[in-house]
């Protein structure tokens, strides 16, 4: 288990940053936005690791990290005149459960159904948590914008 705020976390941040820059260039995003989506991706992964260190609970850290970066993208995307969903799509990629999906598949093929069902459960729970966090931030923003519009 790595300690938060040491150079390992920094390196993980850098790798998530570069990976998300690659992803957003691949989906034709241009200019300064590429930098900011990368920053969001790094923030997502780094905050996940730090919260995981303190709380020791995977789902809670996924939830809080996604809420954090969704708020980040609601704020930054409006400043950069970009649709918010463009930012959210790029920024959540590091936490999308590709890893547990692969492990589930591999365990299932080698005949370990117990392991496989554990990983499938993980995959479903993580996707559900991500969905919940996105939904909460999206509806909260909607509410705030409407209230501000009215008063």
């Amino acid at each position: 288990m790595m300690r938060p705020f040491d150079y390992l976390t920094l390196m993980q941040f850098a790798w998530a940053f570069l990976a998300i820059i690659g992803f957003s260039v691949r989906s034709n995003l241009k200019g300064i936005r590429v930098l900011f989506t990368g920053l969001g991706g790094g923030l997502c992964w780094a905050s996940y690791l730090i919260i995981l260190y303190y709380t020791k609970s995977m789902l809670l850290s996924v939830f809080l990290a996604i809420i954090l970066v969704c708020i980040y993208s609601e704020v930054v995307a409006r400043k950069l005149l970009t649709p918010v969903s463009v930012f959210v799509i790029c920024v959540i990629i590091p936490l999308v459960p590709g890893r547990s999906l692969y492990y589930a598949m591999r365990a299932y093929i080698s005949g370990q159904s117990m392991q496989a069902s554990k990983y499938i459960f993980d995959t479903l729970m993580i996707s559900g948590t991500i969905a919940m966090a996105i939904a909460i931030v999206a509806s909260a923003t909607n509410l705030i914008l409407r209230l501000r519009h009215r008063f």
Partner: protein, 264 residues
């Protein structure tokens, strides 16, 4: 300033909607942008119904004249740059309304030309796209604890997958088969390289490749659509995410099993 005809306006709005929807915009955004275009050219009364596979747009000029068009959306690919640019274009239209209202024929011709330019444009050459696919896969490999040599292999595989995705998507294959073929190719390449280079862990490399394919866009759009009340597109996109996931698992699983059976 003379107003443009009903037919022309509905054509413009539909073209705007098509570009955004094909590049992976949310339903809410497509409807909003089409409404803004109609409003800008002087037709306040417009109704639209958008699903991920088609757009219905009905436009009336206040009297008995009504123009309704349906556009079927066949091919979709992620292109966040186009969504951003079209949104910017439509918002510029909103700003112009304050000067002259409603906007006339010259402005509509400019708008259409801009749309065509955005639709044709590829901001990056192919090799940049392939290299950035490689970067995504390589750095995800490092992120999940790979070594530098595994990074290099994942980078190479990512580039090859980006290159081959371009050609596979030209074939008449559906979303499921596309992802299954791509993930089978990832496993095949990784296993082939594994026979030449000893002492590498394949897991990180394959996961790095899979991270290119994961349905982040479908997941996000499904949630955002459902939350903004577009239940039909929300469910449709949720199913799309599920199908893509099953495709990835089926492809890579089948290839792993075949490789095992061949006995290497």
């Amino acid at each position: 300033m003379n107003k443009i005809s009903l037919q022309e306006c509905s054509k413009l709005a539909l073209e705007t909607g098509r570009i955004i929807l094909q590049s992976g915009g949310t339903t809410n955004r497509v409807e909003l942008m089409m409404h803004k275009v109609c409003q800008g050219f002087g037709f306040e009364d417009s109704e639209s119904f958008v699903t991920p596979t088609g757009i219905f747009l009905s436009l009336s000029d206040g009297d008995e004249q009504i123009s309704t068009r349906i556009k079927r959306i066949e091919q979709r690919r992620i292109d966040l740059g186009k969504i951003t640019q079209v949104s910017k274009l439509v918002n510029a239209l909103q700003a112009d309304i304050h000067n002259s209202r409603p906007l006339g024929e010259t402005r509509s011709r400019d708008f259409y030309q801009e749309l065509v330019r955005i639709d044709r444009e590829n901001p990056y050459p192919t090799w940049v796209i392939n290299l950035s696919g490689g970067a995504t896969s390589g750095f995800f490999c490092l992120l999940f604890g790979g070594s530098w040599i595994e990074f290099a292999i994942a980078f190479l595989i990512g580039c090859l997958i980006s290159l081959s995705l371009k050609y596979i998507s030209k074939l008449p294959v559906n979303n499921f088969l596309l992802n299954a073929l791509a993930s089978a190719l990832i496993v095949l390449l990784a296993k082939t390289i594994d026979t030449w280079i000893p002492n590498i862990r394949l897991d990180n490399i394959i996961i790095g490749g899979i991270m290119i394919l994961v349905p982040g866009l479908a997941l996000t759009n499904a949630i955002r659509d459902t939350m903004s009340g577009d239940l039909v597109s929300g469910t449709a996109r949720g199913v799309e995410a599920l199908i893509i996931t099953i495709g990835i698992v089926a492809g890579s699983g089948a290839m792993l099993k075949v490789w095992d059976l061949l006995g290497y």
